[in-house]
Amino acid sequence: MKRAARKIARHIELFSLARWWGIVLKEFLQLKRDRITFAMIIGIPILQILLFGYAINSDPKHLPTAVIAADHSEFSRSFIAGLKNSDYFAISAEHLSEAEAQSALARGEIQFMVNIPADFSRRLVRGEHPALLVEADATDPMATGMALSALQQLAAAVAARDLKGVLNPQARQAAAFAPQDPFEIRIHRRYNPEADTHYNIIPGLMGVILTMTLVMLTGLAMTRERERGTMENLLATPVTPIEVMSGKIMPYIAIGLIQASIILIAARYLFNVPFAGSLPTLYLIILIFVTATLTVGITLSSIAQNQLQAVQLGFFYFLPSLLLSGFMFPFRGMPQWAQIIGEVLPLTHFNRLIRGILLKGNSWPELWPEIWPLLLFIAVAMGIAVKFYRRTLD
């Protein structure tokens, strides 16, 4: 009877709101005084978004292009002139053989190879719907995506201007006897058939920035106490592990939301990323992701012996997140084992969620399959953190 009562009493004491609030206040005050950390919180998102957004141009121009014109017709000349006039293509070689051009493409010397077959204009005139062959080095899909869509328009414009009579697409459309274009542009995206859109990078960047800064910041939270000797004091008080852990991450949740807002504003007004979905949903998702990331940090912090170790462990977490989450490389292009690791990482799910909300306007039914893995992750990570938190100095 007595023992049961004591057990209940101890259970109730596991979490006291007053004690927890004490820790939250203390962390806020300490954070406020830590100027460098504060600068990092604001500086890193701005720096990264500007670097990724501007310096790393997702819409590159003047890409080296080889033209193999076996067909010396009026149309070919006009098409090549059009290419030259467009900003996207820089004709670097006009007199290569196909084999030479192929190896130049393989070496990465040229980005595109435009092949106008020998009988192109003859077949065009006959209305045989010939194909213009374009091979693109799509290892970096962002490098080629815009140029390729420009190419389509260019070809259409050349066709509209140069082709007369029934071959002219406008005339044909007016006549309404053939819905087809007079010729086809056959694009081979070499080396990487799945071409991601350039909008991927800015939303993806949010998760990367949050992961990097928040894991680092909370990673230091516990080890700092240990290194400064204040941990002994904290342990001597009645605070419980769950109070310390959750209290310590509270200020960083606020910081995560501030960082996310900075990135969202930049995405909207600097990079014109579309906002297809609902903003409250977006913030709720960000909140869940921030919490998941912070539990990782606090777990690393309770495992690490000192601040240096915490930073090192942070990198062990950050690198796989960066590489295997689908931010750097298309997720479906990764081998099976890498996908399995990727599925565990919160950043993978967050990338899908935020792209889903911003670009596709997804709502709860589509989002849920990516949300529950995050929630599960939080529960497991927090469990590990509490288990590793040493109540004693042993």
Partner: protein, 319 residues
């Protein structure tokens, strides 16, 4: 429920603790009565801090048992934390918080009723109201120590564990500090205080001496001195350093200490000691005189430490 039923504030038996291959605390048993100031002495690395941490539940002993304020040190560590005030050896409050913020945090985690007043009163009693908004890191050593004591007293603990609270504090501040301790003890608060200073040892009700993890003596200062067969002679004169060196080689002499114009010579065989001292005095190049004096607690402690030296290795050298 059993908070007031205990007889001893601390009652531990056979505590042992290893850190890797080092046996840091060996079979330590001690009892601290209520309202008693209990001095815990020993050289650096002798296991004082570890013993204190074992008693307040910050470390788990490898073997041994006991109670602290009637709570079991093995199973009721949470209750012990709530009722014990522990002042760490190294200043362990948050230096980037102000004085008031530190006290406020402590008051919150102990869920003090009337928190605000409690903090203000403490600041006033410390005489630090004017500096309440100052960063704690900017305080001098003496003030830090006073703040630490005030903070660990904030939740009105019945037992204080103070780990070398006066290390690096000037003599006047130390005197004030001890007056405060005696005032608290008079209110019925039990205090275990570790120290290096012999003058402080003499201000304790009871003492324990620990060296190399082993408790060598326990009791009042007089009891400890009486329990040892140590006799001491005092030699007055000049150039005592050479005499001290010479005497140390002699039969019956355990240790010699020079205090300016005084030389204390101690030994555990009264007859041999007297013989050696008298011969040395007679053969001294300058005129010196000698007399037998009461053995001091310091002489006893140094004697005990030298005697236990080397037994079962010397783990103290690493700590």
């Amino acid at each position: 429920m059993n908070a007031d039923a205990f007889q001893y504030a601390i009652d531990v038996r056979g505590l042992n603790k290893h850190f890797g291959p080092r046996h840091v605390v060996r079979d330590v048993s001690l009892k601290v009565g209520r309202g008693e100031i209990f001095g815990f002495l020993g050289p650096n690395g002798s296991g004082k801090t570890t013993s204190i941490r074992l008693m307040c539940g910050l470390l788990t002993p490898d073997s041994g048992e006991g109670t602290c304020l009637g709570y079991d040190i093995l199973s009721q560590q949470a209750e012990i934390r709530r009722h014990v005030g522990y002042m760490t050896q190294r200043f362990s409050f948050w230096e980037d918080l102000t004085l008031r913020e530190n006290l406020d945090f402590i008051a919150r985690v102990y869920a003090m009723p009337d928190r605000r007043n409690c903090v203000e009163r403490t600041l006033e009693e410390l005489g630090l109201s004017a500096r309440a908004r100052q960063r704690t890191g900017a305080l001098s050593g003496g003030w830090k120590q006073r703040l630490a004591l005030a903070a660990c007293m904030l939740h009105k603990p019945k037992l204080l564990l103070l780990d070398e609270p006066t290390a690096g504090v000037d003599p006047a501040a130390r005197r004030d500090f001890w007056e405060e301790l005696h005032r608290l003890a008079a209110e019925g608060i039990s205090i275990l205080v570790s120290t290096h200073y012999m003058d402080e040892a003499e201000r304790c009700h009871k003492l324990a001496y620990i060296a190399y993890g082993k408790l060598l003596a326990q009791g009042t200062a007089a009891e400890i001195v009486a329990a040892q067969p140590l006799r001491t002679w005092s030699i007055h004169g000049r150039n005592l350093a050479a005499l001290s060196q010479e005497l140390r080689q002699k039969e019956g002499v355990a240790q010699t200490v020079v205090f300016g114009d005084l030389l204390h010579v101690s030994g555990d065989n009264p007859a041999l000691l007297e013989q050696s001292v008298r011969r040395a005095v007679e053969s001294a190049p300058e005129k010196v005189r000698c007399e037998q004096i009461a053995t001091s607690i310091e002489d006893v402690f140094i004697y005990m430490m030298n005697r236990s030296d080397g037994e079962e290795g010397s783990p103290g050298e690493h700590g």
